[in-house]
Symmetry: none
Subunit: 201 residues, 4 copies
DNA sequence: AATGAATGAGTCTTCATTCAT
DNA sequence: TATGAATGAAGACTCATTCAT
């Protein structure tokens, strides 16, 4: 009789490790996130990291993916309550920057750092680029119905402006002490409203 | 007979080294910028770096300062030709992002990386924060005269929005392949126009 | 009711593991033959290796023994067809180096590697030395009847010369591109003939 | 005034390090020759190895080259005293295996180990193969004049046989306790004599 | 017997910094 | 000022071995 295969705990462990990376990286940067530090934060033996991940970079990539998933989850939760196209757009903006119980400063810090790491790690870059493009596409999709027919073609430009503002707000937020905490959410609404209104009669 | 004291070349050497860091860092990241690599790029012996700088971090800080100076120079050159408040604002926006002969991709890449390094290096952070605040103050100063008296208090909010968009545009630009090259300059003008117009009857 | 004790499959498993080592080692060296790689090649779980063997070195020793057994089998098959003392000697030489259906490049590679590993692993050394001595003794036994009485005492010297040539041929063969493939068998016959003839009137 | 460039000590250091590798490797194998062990044997700081060599493998390659040079030196010293073609051949054989003040057991052990390492390190293989081929060519060159015109074409086959015997003798010698110490030199002379005589009336 | 996760010592290598000259 | 060799403390990663199940 075949022995019952034990359920693999690899998924759970990978999650633990990715969380540990997020936590360590948020406070010490990717460089400060030595494998030893990650393992310690996860409460695991150092060698175990390379049992579940092929390299440190793979952990970083898994973190990037996870940030993408978490953002989408935050967005969908808010979008479910939205009653109009405008509210849906606001839901996406808020999913990125709103304070509140689901705000996650560590994730924002990691996201900013990922942008830098992506610059010279092709595999990271691929993932990060994809996530950027998905955000841009989603923004474009949400902006379009808010534009009068004659301005539909401006949707992607407006989306790019909004995405820029989001990413820049992350920078300012993460650095702290430059713009007040929580400035981003209202700023983005104003921005969206202004861009949508512009040119209308 | 006393030998004639050689004139110090320290300033020149420091400049060489900072330039080498910019160059190496732009293509290989701060991690890739080993002191040996910087020295090689500068055509100097490795040991010389620590004669002119106390540590690698000091070189990074000097680079940050230099980026600030260069930006200001680009701005002032453009501002000199500006004939109105609006053109002065556009001059500052363009100084950041416009393509052209004085565009400097390496500097943009380094600036983005500095944002990350600042997160966990207090001395770097101080400089970077100061530079951010100076930009914000300058933007506010330029936005104010473009607002009707009743909206003067909105100036710093609008400035923060513009600064966010600038920094975000850097991210998108640096990563490449997300928004088209050169999208930032017109986007920022539109943004500024929309924010200034909004609320005006 | 007592469960019927499963018949031990240890012998079968040990054989599987030793074969996997031969295969992995032939292509990746003893260093490349990590226990994980051996287990993978054998289609077994990593932990199982240490159930059937006390250590990695024990697997290596078992492989050495197996190479000795296989050589003897190849020799005996050929010796059975030999019709003269000379043909018996040729049978032994060919058992070592002849090309043909029972040639086994992996084994030759492993044998050469075993010679190196034996140098610093006493337990391996014991086995390898024993195998060398058995070959030398067998060669001496086969050479003796081919010598005239007055030269009987030269038999062990001639055997040593032949054994040297065999082992050296392995080296050259394994490295490839030095001597042509298949050069060893005729070379050894010539060598044997010359050594036996030398001094005969 | 240009400062006088200090003479580089890199060549000296490289020599030291290669010697340390030979020594450590001879007693502990290539695996046992950790960079730490090599550095310790050379009396140097661990980090210095990678200042003078790009990798551990480069040290191994330098050792291979050095073994080639040393062998040639031993040969040329003996060849200078040779008074005939036959004595020149004997000089080469003895340069490989003769006991005496210039015999160097460590080098023989390392040479045998290099044969194994070459199997799976392409850069090592290239060097080792070249050295083998040079030996084969030199042997052929020395054997030719000793053959009557009609047998000239056999020279390379005889050279291959002699090279095999040399390499095999190394194996037996290195392993010890199989053939008596010093058996190789007379054995090779006999072999050479027999191969040259064979077929002559 | 078997599994596969877990352990932790050990490997090669990199690098900021120091130092004798 | 300048050189380039030297130092030694990390760093990521590997791996034989162990262990709970």
């Amino acid at each position: 009789m075949e022995p019952m295969p034990r359920p693999s705990n690899t998924e759970h462990r990978r999650g633990q490790i990715v969380s540990a990376l997020r936590q360590v990286m948020a406070s010490g940067g990717y460089d400060g996130a030595s494998t030893a530090a990650i393992a310690a934060a996860a409460g695991l033996a150092p060698g175990l990291l390379h049992y579940h991940f092929g390299s440190k970079e793979e952990i970083l990539i898994a973190l990037a993916e996870e940030l993408g998933v978490a953002l989408r989850a935050r967005y969908e939760k808010r979008a479910a309550r939205a009653k109009s196209d405008w509210e849906r757009l606001v839901a996406l903006l808020d999913a990125h920057v709103a304070l509140g119980p689901d705000a996650d400063r560590d994730s924002v810090v990691c996201w900013v750092m990922l942008g830098t790491e992506a610059l010279r790690k092709p595999d990271v870059r691929n993932v990060v680029e994809r996530l950027y493009r998905e955000r841009l596409a989603e923004l474009t999709r949400l902006v379009e119905p808010l534009l009068s027919g004659s301005r539909r073609s401006e949707a992607s430009g407006i989306a790019a402006a909004l995405l820029s503002a989001i990413e820049g707000a992350y920078q300012l937020d993460v650095l702290g002490r430059i713009a007040p905490r929580g400035f981003a959410a209202p700023m983005l609404r104003t921005l969206a409203r202004a861009l949508l209104a512009e040119g209308e009669s």
